[in-house]
Amino acid sequence: MKFGISKKVSLLFIILVVVLAATLGCYFIRYQRATLEDEFDERAKALLNSLVVSVEYPLLVEDEKSLQILGNGVLQQKDIIFCEIRNMDDDILFKEGTRNEKYVMQYFSPVFTEKVTPLVREDIILGSEKRQKEVTGKIFLVFSLAGLMEKLSQAKKTIGFLVIGGIVLAFVLINLLTRLVLSNPINELMKGIKKIAEGNLHYKVPIKTQDEIGILATSFNRMTGHLKQMVDNLNCEVAERKKAEELLEKLNEDLESTIQELSRSNRDLQEFAYIAAHDLKTPLRGIGTLAEWLITDYKDKFDQEGKERVDLIVSRAKRIDSLIDSILRYSEVGRISQEKQEVDLNSVLSKVIQEIQPPENVEIIVENELPTIMCSKKWMIQVFQNLLSNAIRYMDKPKGQIKVGCSEENNFWVFSVCDNGPGIEQKYFEKIFKIFQTLSTRDENEAVGMGLPLTKKIIELYDGRIWIQSEPGQGSTFYFTLPKQEKRLKNEKLGANITC
């Protein structure tokens, strides 16, 4: 730091001292000059007055000898270089000296004397209240200013030396003072700041003064203490967080491992389910075929009970086949990637209605036009087929009515399938979406409990949601949502994983 605060303060004080000293110096010189001039003037006037008084009588009696003595006596006085005395007729009675000097001051005074009125002679005895004066002569005195100038010059020199001495002394004192009071404590403070900035939080600024800098240093030391404490706390926190991060990382690793394990298990399970179902399907079909053969080939040999038992085998085989198909489809969802395409749901719905051929007492009403979305047509057919089939299957009214509708809600299409069937109690709202869960015996409607779980899985595959609103006896409404925009499908990732 080339020009620090102490130097600035010193400079400011020095400028002030210089200005003050210069002002005072000028003032003292002027004062000295005025004083000397006044003294000179007073002395000159005193001398002049003294001479006026002294020459009054010699002038009246025109005593030239006395005037000579008085005039020469005055010329002996310091600075008087010329004296001239004239009488009332302006005749010069005394004149001595020279007035040719460069710096001179001239003084003049008339000489008065008391006048006596000749006509009132008793005044000489009685006195008079009226005292008149008359001019009886004139005095000219010329004073040399050389002595005054010399004195003034001497005074100027003295004051100049004093001013310069004062400035130098003030400079030294101010320098010492600022160094002692300002510079040293600030340097100590700066040194401390530098050390602390370098990381040495144990350093304490060694300042013992009680002034503002002392308070600042104390505050600084206190701040450093707080900072150190904060850094320690922070270090502890960092260590703890590091430890937590390590733990979290480990947990993540474990979780990933678990997820991988689960995925693998899931894949294995799906593979197993698919393979098991696929493998079961062939012998089951063989059982069914054999049972049909038995009916065909031995229909005459079986009695009624035998026929019923063989029919039961055939129907059970068909149900198991149907169950296996459902499991296969369920396992397909998410396992095998389906190609996405623009699917007009209106055509999908028409096709589904056509396929399921609803009975005459059930009317399917499409309330409004359905949108076209990016999805797998196969899964959309499955969704509508399951919902409509369930509605028809459980319809208990002589005139059944199923309404299909769609509305927009934020970024989703909200579809609804509403029927006027028997309705479902609220306690079963969750249960119906779980696999192999049916609300009636399987013999009553041949349901396998896979329709709604499959529907749910498909909807969730497309980031949608499915739920039910129903009251017993009032019918049921199934709602499901599908995103309006195209979204990355979950099964893409899953499919990719499988592909790998």
Partner: protein, 340 residues
């Protein structure tokens, strides 16, 4: 209200204005007491305030003309008035000051008031009286060398103390005094003659010198100062002026000769002794002359009188410096003593 006027009032109204109110508003007993009181008051008043004798004489009207407003003139007037009072004469004084009023205005007023007598105090007043008031009796006082200003209708007292009186007094106090120094000019030549005569009569030796200009005074004084015991000042305005008096008094102390001053003012300034007039007595003298004038039916000749009383002033400090001893009885008798 005088007793006579009260009697006249009661003769007309039966009671005084004050008692009238009291009387009318009181009961019979009270009224009787008041009547008694009124009679007692009338008679007692008549006894206490008898008619003064001067009321029987006509009041004199005097016009007093002051030359200036100095104290000695007032003292002289005081003596003038006192004398009239002592003579049981009623005097009414009209004062005029020539420092404040013009001579013409004063003259017109005096003419208008028809004064019985005019008192002129000082030369200036006397000149006015001589020039303007020729038909009126005039007395003067406090005038130095009045001889040239008098007239038939004018009488008065001079301010000049006769030299013989001064010298007699001097001799009585300082019997060792022999040589008297004197410097005079043509203006004071008559006085010089008187002094010279008095010195001869009283055994003094006069060392004198005549000068024609005040410029000669220092040298002449230097010449005579070593020959004299005393120096006598004269009322000569051609010689004496303040600065010269100062020089004279300084020279007297340096050359050890005492100065006889013209008045106590000079003694206070450094002269050893002075013989002053008694200004009140001058007024009395003037009053005496005025009484004479007023009592006469026809004009008389001019009467000029000189002061009859002399007051002595002494300066003890000057005496001490000069080494002169003054007898204590003279100090006690002196009217003014300076430098105690």
């Amino acid at each position: 209200m005088s007793g006579i006027r009260k009697i006249l009032f009661i003769a007309k109204f039966g009671f005084t204005p004050l008692e009238r109110n009291l009387f009318l508003g009181s009961a019979p007993l009270k009224r009787g007491l008041l009547t008694g009181f009124i009679f007692f008051w009338i008679f007692s008043d008549g006894l206490c305030f008898a008619v003064p004798p001067e009321l029987a004489k006509p009041i004199k009207r005097a016009a007093v003309i002051f030359s200036s407003n100095i104290e000695p003139y007032q003292q002289s007037l005081k003596g003038f008035e006192e004398f009239f009072r002592e003579q049981k004469e009623s005097l009414h004084v009209y004062k005029y000051n020539l420092e404040k009023e013009s001579a013409g205005a004063v003259y017109l007023q005096i003419e208008k008031e028809k004064s019985d007598i005019v008192l002129a105090l000082g030369t200036k007043a006397l000149r006015l009286a001589k020039e303007k008031l020729k038909n009126m009796p005039v007395v003067f006082s406090m005038v130095l060398n009045p001889e040239a200003i008098t007239d038939l209708n004018i009488s008065g007292v001079s301010l000049d103390i006769p030299p013989e009186i001064k010298l007699k007094n001097l001799k009585s106090i300082f019997p060792d005094a022999k040589k008297i120094g004197l410097i005079y000019s043509p203006q004071s030549e008559l006085l010089y003659n008187d002094i010279s005569r008095a010195c001869t009569d009283l055994g003094f030796q006069l060392v004198s010198k005549k000068i024609n200009s005040k410029k000669e005074f220092p040298d002449v004084l230097k010449d005579i100062s070593w020959q004299i015991d005393w120096f006598m000042m004269t009322p000569d305005t051609d010689i004496y002026f303040p600065k010269l008096v100062e020089h004279l008094l300084r020279a007297s102390l340096e050359n050890k000769f005492p100065v006889i001053g013209l008045s106590s003012t000079y003694v206070r300034a450094g002269a050893l002794i002075s013989f002053d007039c008694d200004y009140e007595d001058l007024g009395r003298q003037a009053a005496e002359l005025a009484m004479e004038r007023l009592g006469e039916e026809k004009q008389v000749n001019t009467q000029l009188v000189r002061p009859r009383k002399v007051k002595i002033s002494l300066n003890l400090l000057t005496a001490e410096i000069l080494g002169i001893k003054i007898p204590p009885e003279n100090i006690e008798q002196a009217s003014q003593v300076f430098g105690k």
